[in-house]
């Protein structure tokens, strides 16, 4: 994938992307999962993105703080400032290996947790949920993995849909050792 796609209408100029309609963060269903995927891909490709938020999250909104902040957050304007200050590049991302994925999670201040996902059920579900997926289609192994990934805050499951949160790092920052 050379950039974001999916169901989110947007314009791209060079390394800048603009979502042309507000993104629904309510968590009511597919739209929120697609919005997360869109923002996650922008983040992973190191694109700067302009977008406006709509809807009041029915989940912990801090789950999205690793994604680029919106210009507008009508549901909770006070939280926007926190999102802007907390958001740094590479605070949560994943990398693909031969039969494993590593996740770096620095969302808790002062910590850097490295997770290696190599259990086939866990790995398979993590990768599958990169595409927004209805929870109902997951088999028992998938559901068990979903529970674990949700508990680790690596997946957003809401309104019957699930989507993986950590972007795959496609562009290293300079210096690449900073993350």
């Amino acid at each position: 994938m050379s950039g974001p796609d999916g169901g989110v209408p947007h314009r791209r100029t060079g390394r800048r992307v603009e979502a042309t309609a507000p993104l629904d963060l309510s968590g009511a269903g597919r739209a929120t999962a697609e919005a997360v995927r869109f923002l996650r891909e922008c983040q992973g490709h190191g694109l700067s993105v302009r977008w406006r938020a709509a809807g009041t999250p029915s989940y912990d909104p801090a789950l999205l703080r690793h994604l680029p902040p919106p210009v507008e957050l009508p549901a909770d304007p006070g939280a926007l400032e926190a999102w802007r200050t907390e958001h740094t590049h590479g605070v949560l991302y994943h990398r693909r290996g031969p039969d494993f994925v590593t996740v770096l999670d620095r969302r808790r201040r002062g910590t850097a947790v490295r997770l290696t996902l190599d259990h086939p059920g866990l790995l398979g579900t993590f990768l599958r949920l990169l595409e927004p997926t209805p929870v109902a289609v997951l088999d028992p192994v998938g559901r068990e993995a979903l529970a674990l990934l949700t508990a680790e805050r690596l997946v957003l499951a809401c309104g019957g849909w699930a989507v993986t949160l950590p972007p795959r790092i496609r562009r290293w920052p300079v210096p690449c050792t900073a993350i």
Binding site: G14, D118, P173, C176, T177
Partner: protein, 615 residues
């Protein structure tokens, strides 16, 4: 036989020891019946400090003392007290040294009280494994920590055989280390692939190792040094490292949570440039200069194995210089893997944009291109084989391909003049959007470098670097053989020019984070957005021959060559007008001029830039 392999502080905590990984394989290959165990002393030291200081001395402090302070010998000094059985040994000299140079030594001073206890604990742990042979590998500041432990081991078990090797033991250094430390039984000088198994054969048979090339051994009370060989190890005989015991030590270590472990691999030894043009300041051992590379396919197979085994995607290569064949038979394999690897490689600065792109695509995003200077005459003096313009171009391409570029600006070359620097210093503010050097550093005299071996090159007067006075309790003539760095009378620039250079580099570092100089194509127009520190924001618009000229100069050209290209492209430009335009573009900091060559400075890419160490 039981062989115990040891790497002591200050081996970097986030890396396995390549040396131990290789020696492990070498012994197992030559002597399948032997038992090989490893002691990762650097990791142990970090654990020991963390525990005994109640969490005050952290792995980060080990980096400060053990890696950042290499030119001040702080890491060695921490252990000198243990080596000389005197907790206060060298402290007054260290304080004098540090005060005169503004070197912070608080952390080293805080560590010193733990060194003797740590050495004792290491000896207990190693002797519990009942080894016959203990082999130390020593590089940079591992000498004193290793000697301290070797002494403790021999004191407690005189029958044990202690062997030293590693780059601190090359040439005369190995012999000096041997003859001044009777508790070191043998020193392997040079590559160990053939010599170490040969020594073990002698030890097993109880015979004198008279025929092991380069080896130092005791003939009664006499320290013998066998003649070194010029024969180098063939790539096919260089094993792939075994990191299993390192992994086990790391998994069990409480410092693991502080570390971001990486793999270490070796594709090649020696230097293909240095074989013909030894850079005058470079202390790469002359006898090891012959360039030998593993085939790219084999290097990739090794990385594939290690990545799968250790589940680590960060890979550091130790090669002095990348094998150019790797652009055909190694990097494309890495790129095709589809894995998100992150590699570190030392390369030559004159890579093409296509080669730099391949580095980026393969995840080789951290490079060290040996830039050293931006002035062509100085680069000539050091026989570096690149020009200043070429180096600037490389820095610019690193932005275009989001490559992290580590480099130093070196000065102090005999024969350099103020006017080699003045035009460069004047233009440094224009480069503020490109990655700055780690600093401007006066070169030090390194053993084995052409500057060292040929006093006529300008460094006739030399003596062991002052820092060794607080590291070793040895007379100066012995130090002269033992050590790697030497003090000399300063050569080259000094005074006002030196000060200006250092200030300009400091300003570059300070102004870099928010500086951009970006090209943008807008229909027939070429825009340059100037958002560099120290200049008012501006957008310059170019059309016609001026736009074409800026594009042509991305490769770096002389004005006449540019003129020919423009004419061939159908642009009628009077030579004088072109000269004037170039002068103005240099004045606005859009071009860098190196002698007759000009190179465009705007970039097409804008990497995500983060402050160093923001992680």
């Amino acid at each position: 036989m039981r062989v115990h392999l040891v790497t002591m502080p200050w081996h970097p905590l986030d890396l396995p020891s390549l040396q131990l990984g290789l020696l492990h394989r070498i012994v197992r290959r030559a002597r399948p019946g032997d038992e090989v165990t490893e002691f990762h002393g650097s990791l142990r030291w970090a654990e020991f400090l963390l525990e005994h200081s109640g969490g005050r001395l952290t792995p980060g402090d080990c980096v400060e003392v053990g890696s950042d302070a290499i030119f001040h010998g702080l890491g060695d000094w921490v252990f000198s007290g243990a080596l000389y059985d005197d907790p206060g040994w060298g402290t007054a000299r260290l304080r004098d040294y540090a005060a005169g140079r503004g070197v912070p030594v608080g952390t080293a001073l805080a560590m010193r009280p733990y060194a003797a206890g740590f050495v004792d604990a290491c000896a207990t742990e190693i002797l519990a494994a009942d080894p016959d042979v203990v082999g130390f590998t020593s590089t940079f500041m591992q000498n004193v920590p290793s000697l301290a432990l070797a002494r403790a081991l021999k004191r407690r078990r005189p029958g044990l055989t202690v062997v030293f090797g590693g780059s601190n033991c090359d040439g005369p250094m190995g012999h000096a280390l041997h003859r001044n430390h009777p508790f070191v039984d043998h020193v392997v000088r040079g590559e160990a692939e053939y010599a170490f198994p040969a020594l073990l054969r002698h030890l097993a048979a109880g015979t004198d190792p008279v025929d092991v090339p380069g080896l130092c051994w005791w003939d009664g009370p006499v320290s013998r040094a066998n003649t070194e060989t010029r024969r180098t190890v063939a790539p096919a005989d260089i094993p792939s490292p075994d990191y299993d015991q390192w992994q086990a030590a790391l998994d069990a270590s409480p410092v693991q949570e502080y570390l971001h472990p990486k793999l270490v691999v070796e594709g090649a030894r020696g230097c293909w440039w240095g074989e013909k043009h030894h850079c005058t300041f470079c202390g790469l051992n002359g006898s090891a200069m012959a360039f030998r590379a593993k085939p790219g396919e084999r290097l990739w197979t090794e990385i594939d194995r290690l990545v799968r085994r250790h589940r680590i995607l960060d890979v550091v290569t130790v090669d002095n210089i990348i094998d150019m064949a790797y652009f055909r038979d190694f990097l494309p394999r890495v790129a095709a893997s589809g894995w998100d690897l992150r590699l570190h490689y030392e390369v030559k600065s004159n890579l093409t944009p296509a080669q730099l792109r391949l580095l980026g695509d393969s995840g080789t995003v951290h490079i060290q291109p040996g830039i050293e200077s931006l002035g062509s005459r100085v680069l000539d003096l050091m026989d570096k084989g690149v020009t200043g313009a070429r180096n600037v171009r490389t820095l610019r391409e690193c932005e275009n391909h989001a490559l992290t570029c580590s480099w130093n600006l070196l000065y102090g070359f005999p024969g350099e003049r103020d006017d080699d620097y003045t035009p460069v210093i004047d233009q440094l503010p224009a480069l503020v959007h490109l990655q700055p050097p780690s600093g401007a550093h006066r070169i030090q005299l390194e053993r084995f470098s052409p500057h060292f071996t040929d006093p006529d090159l300008g460094f006739g007067k030399r003596r062991p670097a002052a820092m060794y006075q607080h590291v070793y309790d040895l007379p100066e003539d012995e130090l002269a053989d033992l050590v790697y760095l030497f003090d000399t009378e300063p050569a080259g620039i000094g005074g006002a020019v030196e000060r200006r250079l250092r200030e300009a580099v400091a300003a570059w570092r300070a102004g870099h984070a928010d500086s951009r100089l970006l090209f943008e194509e807008d229909g027939a127009e070429l825009l340059v957005h100037d958002r560099r520190h120290g200049r008012p924001p501006a957008t310059h618009r170019f059309t016609g021959w001026q736009a074409a000229a800026l594009r042509h100069l991305e490769d770096g050209r002389t004005v006449p060559a540019l003129h020919r290209l423009l004419t061939a492209g159908g642009h009628e430009v009077p030579g004088e007008a072109l000269e004037t335009w170039v002068r103005r573009a240099v004045g606005r900091g859009l071009l860098f001029r190196d002698g007759a060559t000009c190179v465009s400075l705007p970039t097409w890419g804008e990497p995500v830039r983060l402050p160093e160490g923001s992680g």
